[in-house]
Symmetry: C3
Subunit: 208 residues, 3 copies
């Protein structure tokens, strides 16, 4: 199994878990949970593949859907009979963000795209599944909630991956480090409340 395939499979599994947890909070029925888990797990990679004009990664290989179904069922059973995971959604989401961002960056890199585009494509791949999940669950997307360093973490990780000189480190090691940085930034933002400054804007006098 190549690193790229591992990133996609692992990202699919943790995003499926994060989608199932979000859907269970909304008290959806089992099929609703499965739908949200599937959309969350495939959304980012599917958009990436449409943008690069590849066949969506899950279409030719049913393994991904099997992983999603298994992840959703295990999550349902675990939450039903075990204790609900403390901060489980945030942690699964942080791991999915890291895995998918770098898988998106790797694929964009293989398509010989410019460095800036590689960073953007990685960020899109990482954040889009979670955005769809939150929009469908009628939540403000986690990426846009205050003080979460969400897209920031993806951009920093993708930039590290793109800029890391090949002489210093092979690409797979760079990918691993970039993933760890993304997960680390997100978890630091969640646990220690690290934030970026906000620019206030006077809202009076604005049109509709």
């Amino acid at each position: 199994m190549t690193l790229l395939r591992f990133l996609d499979v692992a990202g699919v599994a943790v995003f499926a878990i994060s989608g199932a947890l979000a859907a269970m909070r909304k008290r959806l029925d089992p099929i609703g949970i499965l739908v949200i888990a599937t959309v969350t797990a495939t959304g980012g990679g599917t958009l990436r593949d449409l943008l690069i004009d590849r066949q969506p990664f899950w279409v030719t290989d049913p393994t991904y859907l099997a992983v999603i179904i298994a992840s959703a069922i295990v999550t349902i059973i675990y939450v039903r009979f075990g204790s609900p995971p403390d901060r489980g959604l945030s942690i699964a989401d942080a791991m999915g963000l890291g895995l998918f961002t770098i898988s998106g960056a790797k694929i964009a890199e293989q398509s010989q795209l410019a460095g800036l585009i590689v960073v953007v494509m990685g960020t899109i791949t990482g954040i889009f599944g979670g955005i769809i999940r939150d929009v469908l669950c009628a939540e403000v997307p986690m990426v846009f909630r205050k003080n979460t360093l969400y897209a920031t973490a993806a951009m920093i990780g993708a930039s590290i991956y793109v800029l890391m000189p090949a002489q210093i480190m092979d690409r797979n090691s760079a990918a691993t480090i970039a993933i760890a940085v993304i997960i680390g930034i997100r978890l630091a933002a969640i646990y220690w409340g690290i934030t970026l400054p906000v620019f206030p804007v006077d809202q009076s006098g604005e049109g509709k």
Copy 2:
């Protein structure tokens, strides 16, 4: 006219009606009604075509858009001068769900995709137009409202279509039965309140 084209044309017409009814409830102006009708009627099939890398079904053939415009105008006139349709939105939506789910499954099948992928592709085709309609109208998508057996109906119908042995029944008959099953399940869920169980999850202690 092939069965596939009939499914797409009929699905487009009923989803256009469902979109027009939803937009009229939101008191949009005529162009707003037309836009919502168009998005609802083309959304699911367009996503299906993007995923399978076909040209979107309405791009090369203006018939579909003409059908949408006619359906929206007839709906506006009917509601304006007749009585508002009792449960009309739910019924049109159920028919669109059945027609589009099986049209999506048929196209995925023609592309030689695996059975599980065919079921997923059919479900996506069936539910996506309605999801966009509801998101744009700022409603919780019908597919995620409690006790609607929405995605469930699509999955069951698509599974029947995929699993029906060719020795027992030709593909077009299987498609017709699957469509009837989907519409039947949806209407039964609406009128008799049939539901799937919901798994509660303790929300205390969860992260943001």
Copy 3:
């Protein structure tokens, strides 16, 4: 620089400004502002390119992303140190609508699509970026707010562009006039409250 490229670059710049202004109102941090600006500026053209099966316009040419980043930074600085722009979001949005609608129509025309499809493709290109911006900011999309002549302006402009006889006017002049008409209709709707009539619908007796 061709007219088409100018339309895309200028449309990207003004939609990036409109996205940055919307994100600043929501008090997002700088990266959140950049993400919303990027999605707003690339959304409509990206959907157009996916539908026509072209590579998304920003993927091969990093100029667009550089324009977006610059526009977002200038907007942040201007709002931070200057006075907040009075009705600035509405005006930037009207300009983006005009530029992107006609750029979408031009590209659809080059693909030899039918006139009705060209109008629809132009309208999609014009309105979709703003719809995503508003959905992500948890606002009712501007296109669906009452009395805004939003999609109406795009459709009228695209229709003028499509129907203008080549004997009377060359295509670039037709494009320029169509853009001016779109911006004019939108600004007239904003400042003078011009509207289309709304058809009420009795909501009693409707299903869930």
